[in-house]
């Protein structure tokens, strides 16, 4: 019940941003929601125990694909979005298939290399991407025949797709698929002994994550309307990971909370050298004081209060 109220309030708040805030806030919250998609879509892979530090590379693929198709071929947004996301998932499959047998840090290294390769391709392939001069004048999202010209309209598009993405990811996590991912993360050889094809399920988790990273990329491209390779580098990918850890990995809401919290708090440092410092400190504080992430904070606070009350002897049921 409380959960529903919180969700309703959050959604209402999100919808009200363009009504009460100026363009700055619309811009800010649009980026927050894109970060939410990125953080939530990293979760399936993390649940399987795969440390993916290359998520922004797949976002990059979705962003450039969607932008270039819209710009050069005037394709509608619903099409460029899907193509961008599918291409991201396809590249994810190509990267994931050989490397998902690697574990822990070795897999992480592959994804780090990948994200840098993608960034370099975007920087070097000048005829296509305009390289480090950046790809500019990307069309506004043209959805179902109408171009979303207002900032508010584009913002609502992002909110809507964030909600759809989260719903899909939530349903998947609640299903048998989610249970299998969790099982692989906890004890992969046990899952294997019960007949789970762990390589296939890890790949599926990775593909789904890449698909939605591609969605986030396409939304970003048509909202900011300017793409610049360094914005998809390794540091961005680590930020997505930090959202998950700081928010908390124990529940679906964790990465969402982490992304909202950190995106808003880091806003004053965006683009500066302090941004990295901020994220590092956030990560360190989490490891030291809240290993379960922000989502465990309410429980900890409550436990703290009960702990004090319990100094008086209280009868405990069933010892």
């Amino acid at each position: 019940m409380i959960r529903r109220v919180v969700l309703a309030v959050a959604l209402l708040g999100a919808l009200l941003v363009p009504q009460v805030g100026n363009d700055y806030y619309v811009h800010l919250f649009a980026l927050v929601f894109i970060n939410v998609i990125l953080a939530a879509s990293l979760r399936p892979s993390l649940t399987c125990g795969q440390l993916n530090i290359g998520h922004s590379g797949f976002m990059c693929i979705g962003a450039y694909t969607s932008a270039l198709l819209a710009k050069h071929y005037a394709l509608p947004f619903e099409l460029t979005l899907v193509i961008g996301a599918l291409l991201a998932a396809l590249v994810g499959t190509a990267i994931g298939y050989p490397s998902l047998r690697l574990r822990g840090v070795y897999f992480a290294m592959v994804t780090v290399a990948f994200v840098e390769v993608i960034r370099l391709i975007a920087a070097i392939w000048v005829p296509l991407t305009r390289g480090n001069s950046g790809l500019s004048s990307i069309p506004k999202p043209n959805l179902l025949g109408t171009t979303l010209t207002t900032r508010a309209g584009q913002y609502y598009l992002i909110v809507a797709l964030t909600v759809v993405t989260l719903l899909i990811l939530w349903k998947l996590e609640q299903s048998r698929l989610g249970l299998i991912w969790k099982g692989i993360g906890m004890a992969d050889h046990l899952a294997q002994s019960l007949g789970v094809n762990i390589a296939a399920y890890k790949l599926l988790a990775f593909m789904i994550g890449c698909f939605f990273a591609g969605v986030a990329g396409a939304l970003y491209a048509h909202f900011i309307r300017f793409l610049f390779p360094p914005e998809f580098g390794f540091l961005v990918a680590t930020n997505i990971l930090v959202y998950n850890f700081v928010g908390g990995r124990g529940h679906f809401i964790g990465p969402i909370v982490g992304a909202i919290f950190l995106s808003l708090l880091s806003e004053p440092f965006r683009g500066s050298a302090y941004e990295t410092i901020f994220f590092s400190i956030a990560m360190l504080l989490t490891i030291l004081f809240l290993p379960g992430g922000i989502i465990t904070l309410p429980g900890k606070l409550a436990g703290f209060r009960w702990g004090r009350a319990a100094s008086a002897p209280t009868p405990s049921p069933a010892g």
Binding site: S175, L190, S193, G195
Partner: protein, 255 residues
């Protein structure tokens, strides 16, 4: 035709022959014990049979089909399911969720169910899991986290998960390790009931009382090779087996 049959099963780790030319046959409906001193190759044998390790040479036939070199999930699909020596569970899941994962192969739910159904799991699958839990005596603990169960219950939960996969042959790796007399007695009774319901059993166990009282036939391994085979009475009086377990005795000490 035996349900499980290995010929010349061999596994080398570098220069070490962990399993060397083992011929093993398990008939339908048997309870076979695999015993031997520590390091005899029992668990390696299990890893080979269940596809967790590829054999260096030799063949494994299960239900008339050559399953040598198949990957473990493919072997489980054919009805050969194993448990682990050390307590291995999905610790942060409830007992019911653990068994739900055991049911994995027999669940028909796909992506469409995942996305469009209100229920995470079909009611009949939950029911099946509860039946398995009731059968193993864990029915009352269905909603407890695996990590909070006592050791004996955790071991039994491991068996319950394997049962949910509906094995034709169940490999139990030290099912009563660390249990007291009472608990191990109950587990071995459970093993017999499982067999009576039509699942063949091959088990590794160091608890000789449990092995002798339960198994119809016993295979003894020593240094990776088959040392002896026979009924509990035959094996326990076999001089070679006694020597392997207790040493050669005075004769050997003098020389």
């Amino acid at each position: 035709m035996a349900l499980l049959e290995t010929r010349g099963l061999t596994k080398h780790f570098g220069g070490l022959a962990a399993v060397q030319g083992v011929d093993l046959a398990v008939g339908d409906g048997e309870i076979v014990g695999l015993i031997g001193p520590n390091g005899a190759g029992k668990t390696t044998c299990f890893n080979l049979l269940s596809g967790f390790l590829p054999p260096t040479s030799g063949t494994i036939h299960f239900a008339g089909e050559d399953i040598t070199g198949l990957r473990s999930h493919a072997i489980v699909r054919r009805g050969l399911v194993r448990t682990f020596q050390h307590t291995t569970l999905f610790q942060d899941m409830t007992a019911l969720e653990n068994v739900l994962l055991g049911l994995h192969l027999h669940s028909a739910t796909g992506l469409r169910h995942a996305l469009f159904s209100r229920e995470s799991f079909p009611r009949e699958e939950i029911e099946q899991c509860r039946t398995v839990l009731d059968f193993t005596g864990l029915g009352a603990h269905a909603d407890q986290l695996a990590r909070n169960l006592p050791h004996g219950h955790q071991r039994i939960l491991g068996i319950a998960m394997a049962l949910a996969a509906r094995p034709r042959l169940l490999l139990l790796d030290e099912p009563v390790t660390g249990m007291n007399l009472d608990e191990s007695g109950r587990v071995m009774a459970l093993v017999k009931t499982i067999r009576d319901r039509g699942t063949t059993i091959l088990l590794v166990e160091h608890n000789m009382k449990a092995v002798m009282g339960t198994c119809g036939r016993i295979v003894v391994l020593n240094f990776g090779q088959k040392l002896a085979e026979g009924t509990p009475a035959e094996v326990s009086t076999n001089p070679a087996v006694i020597e392997a377990y207790l040493g050669a005795g005075l004769e050997h000490a003098r020389s």
